[in-house]
Symmetry: C2
């Protein structure tokens, strides 16, 4: 392991829910080092303004028509150029859809294996390690055999049906039931034993499973994944536990990076007495991160682990009703009420703290951690307004179909959408009504991801299965599929060097300059077309802004 | 190899397109042994009658309503009993969807591998056997390297796109283009080299490929396939060539059985001078079969091969316009015109000859060969009327959605439909409009099959992929999937002993008596429900027939 970086002179303090970082200046005085661009109140003001704009009739008409136009342009492009695109692809030696890199941009780690895999794993453990003490219940330690005896089940009897983790008709519009599917055989103790990393066996089983999944990915070579793993914010030690699990078990792979998912469950912790106010949750989540960034030796394992963490996700059932935040919200230390803060409230505080943290990490030459929450899978349009302002990237974005203005803004700014239509099909919207193909045609930056292979997919190649269903149902061409795969790499948090190797030496540029067909198998014609349309829309908006300003001046002069 | 059965005393002779078989009786006189139940004229008469009945208004209303009712019953059954069904499945020890037997009931052998597999195979051959002489063109023999030089392509440059065998938007409603996809890189010489068994290398490459696919099936253990391989009827030696290919290359597997597909291409052979009349085609196809059945030593390899052949399929683009047969058609020897006989004409002669052949084979204790043509993928309703009268089983049956009477008849008689919705999606009907889920709910005997993995599927498990898409898009439950898998075994031509092992000791019985949940994972509740509904419909029809007869008598008496 390389030596730890030295402790820096920064100090920090949480004020009104946002970490303030200070450093001594040349005069020996302490001054504020980093600050997010706006306060919570600024943010809620802007949120309300954006909510107004996106529901303003004329802007809706404008955005809707522009989006229709980009869609028509795409259809026309395909009609005229599909053959030429395919010719380009044929000429790219060696490369085809199967050997371009695809990143599964949205997978929950504890559902990353398929159900057959998990079943086989459980059976083999029950056979080979029946005497392993795995859980503490009602005052005594139980070994694996005893646990299964208590459920009344033998290894032979076990099957995928008893496991009962697959999404079915009963999960549609029932996020709560979908969540219960994480319990093998409906038994939370089995979830604890097999798919938790913080348990009596210190997550050894989950680590072994993960390594098996990783070696499958490595064998496949062209498929990568960004696994979400939870930090709840219930206690300060969670980060250290998690880092120790990864490092002690050597859960490393070139094919994966980690994301942290924060479940929005303050109300649960409050109601069961775990915490008094929202501030405690923020402390538990963010203090260790600042500590380790200022002084890596304070949490050496976390220091190493954080370098593999590329983003923070925020998860929960978005369809739960919530109170729209007002412009002046109470600060987290005063949030001692029993109901859960709104999505936007959570998002602001995670964003603001990550902003300061990243500024600090950049100043120390460390990697940064992007804010990439779930948004717009269901629920109010507030969520998508919030993430438009705060997020680098979102998971889902389904509800953009309900707001042409936001959809157009996401298009213009090319905020990535990591979509999972098969997951949506189990939960929120039938497959053939999914807006993915429309978003794709319009040029939104969409990728395909699996979300929960354990509950959803049936083959041993869940990501290819996800692409396959999309290709079949929506009749996507080889150029379409390769474009989506390329987008998945760009949307991902894989390192710069990997993206250069997988996409192009100048992958961050738009159009043909950022596309190397020998690596992506995406026709230059396609890349050029996308840039062209986007530039046209941007130019239109720019001109509109100039005209509006002039008009404003004229009005002022006349007035 | 077991000793060949002795030559029998039968003689045979083709009369008016149908083989007549004779045997000496006790008195030493020669008499007719086997005869199909009706002549060609009988058949065409009945075909016209059936066409009339199925377009008769009142019968359409009746059948439509009965079908709607069975559908409603199914929906009600699922609403009330889904949980109980799932409970039954959970209790079946060890068994789940992944380890119940599924038969891919409709696959064309030369498209049975996926495109990535074929690509890898071609690349490895080009690397390891570049000097193998593989084809004879323009007066000289070419080796593999020379062939690829003539195309201007190296092993490195090859990719799935250059292979260009995947169905795409351009194949929709273009069966002709779909057929051209069988040519790797659009080159018929590559098709000849890699996916034909009758070529310069005597089909060695195709045999090696087939064995690889078979060993994948064997490793998977629970997936079986019925591969279609062509007999064209252009020359009498085709059967011997095919049998020699199978036997010399040891293309055997417990997981596959063979079907023969006859392309309906008389008009092509006639126009290029290969044959003068339709009788020649019948001779080429059927004479060898009767010869080998009467005297196995006449074609010893064919004798062995035929024991692995379980059916005859009849293939071609059904959407081609054709002339409806009149009641009196000219006999095959007089069919010397340039246009192709209609589907029904082909079907009758294949059926009638198979009928006689099977009777002969039964008398000798040999296996029989079922008539299982493609029907109703497109084209006139005649095709489905024809197969209702003649076929054991059909591939597709899509057009039953256009004829409620035929649909009801297929339901009552439980004629198996081996459907391939992903293939249909590439050719004839969008996935979410496919009638499969409606047919399934109504209780038609439907199975899922892949048709052409090479052109259609993307994962390494094409049949599971086919089930997966269906499960996702149509929200099929575990009970539904296992029922479809069980039906696929019953629809298949696998031996009696296998069906006993895979389905039930009394698999031929309806309802719970024919269902062993420990083998099929199909809930008895489901099996019972299906039997119940079917019996109810049959009883209704029986009563209707009795009433109609009585009414007929009364009318007569009164009259």
């Amino acid at each position: 392991m390389p030596p730890l970086p030295p402790k820096s002179q920064h100090t920090f303090e949480m004020i009104d829910g946002v970490m303030h970082v200070y450093h001594p200046n040349a005069q020996g005085e302490v001054e504020l080092a980093h600050k997010p661009p706006g306060t919570a109140t600024d943010f809620f003001y802007d949120l309300h303004a954006l909510l107004k704009v996106q529901s303003y009739g004329p802007s809706k008409t404008f955005c809707h028509k522009r989006l229709l136009l980009t869609e028509q342009k795409f259809n026309l492009h395909v009609m005229l150029n599909a053959d030429r695109e395919f010719l380009e692809q044929k000429k790219a030696p060696h490369r085809d859809f199967y050997n371009v890199r695809k990143v599964d941009t949205h997978v929950h780690h504890s559902a990353c294996m398929n159900q057959k895999h998990l079943l086989r794993f459980i059976k083999s453990k029950l056979k080979r390690e029946p005497h392993e003490l795995v859980v503490y219940r009602d005052g005594k330690f139980l070994n694996l055999r005893e646990v299964f005896e208590s459920i009344g089940m033998t290894a032979y009897e076990l099957n995928v049906d008893t496991l009962d983790m697959h999404a079915d008709k009963n999960t549609f519009h029932r996020f709560d039931r979908f969540n219960l599917k994480y319990n093998p055989m409906g038994q939370s103790r089995l979830r604890e034993i097999f798919i938790k990393q913080d348990n009596l066996i210190r997550g050894r089983f989950l680590a072994e499973l993960t390594k098996q999944v990783c070696s499958d990915l490595e064998a496949n070579k062209y498929t990568m994944a960004e696994y979400r793993i939870s930090i709840y914010g219930r206690k300060p030690g969670e980060w250290d536990n998690l880092a120790a699990w990864v490092l002690n078990n050597n859960v490393f792979s070139e094919n994966i990076v980690w994301m942290i998912q924060i479940p929005r469950l303050y109300n649960i912790y409050h109601s069961n007495g775990t915490m008094k106010n929202f501030q405690q949750m923020l402390d538990n989540i963010f203090k260790p991160l600042f500590e380790v960034t200022v002084d890596p030796s304070s949490h050496p394992k976390l220091h190493t682990f954080l370098q593999m963490v590329i983003g923070v996700d925020m998860v929960d059932d978005e369809s739960k009703p919530e109170r729209r935040p007002s412009k002046h919200m109470r600060v987290p230390v005063d949030w001692d009420v029993s109901h859960n803060p709104a999505y936007a409230y959570y998002a602001y505080y995670v964003y603001a703290n990550l902003y300061t943290l990243n500024a600090l990490r950049v100043s120390k030459g460390l990697n940064t951690i992007a804010f990439r929450p779930h948004a717009g899978e269901a629920g109010d349009i507030d969520h998508l307004c919030t993430t438009f302002m705060l997020a680098k990237n979102i998971a889902h974005g389904l509800n953009l179909r309900k707001s042409p203005c936001l959809q157009y803004l996401y298009y213009l700014t090319q905020i990535p959408l990591d979509m999972s239509p098969l997951s949506n099909n189990s939960l929120f919207i039938d497959y053939h009504k999914n807006p993915f193909p429309v978003f794709f045609a319009r040029g939104l930056r969409v990728s395909l991801s699996t979300d929960d292979p354990l509950m959803i997919h049936m083959t041993k190649e869940p990501l290819v299965e996800e692409y396959s269903v999309a290709a079949q149902v929506w009749k996507l061409s080889a150029a379409d599929l390769c474009e989506i795969a390329k987008t998945s790499v760009l949307n991902s948090g894989f390192p710069r060097a990997s993206k250069k190797h997988w996409v192009s030496d100048q992958y961050w540029l738009n159009g043909t300059r950022g596309n190397d067909i020998q690596k992506t198998n995406v026709p230059d014609l396609r890349a050029h077309f996308r840039e062209d349309v986007l530039e046209c829309e941007k130019e239109l908006v720019r001109r509109g802004v100039v005209q509006a300003r002039q008009k404003g001046r004229e009005l002022k002069i006349r007035g």
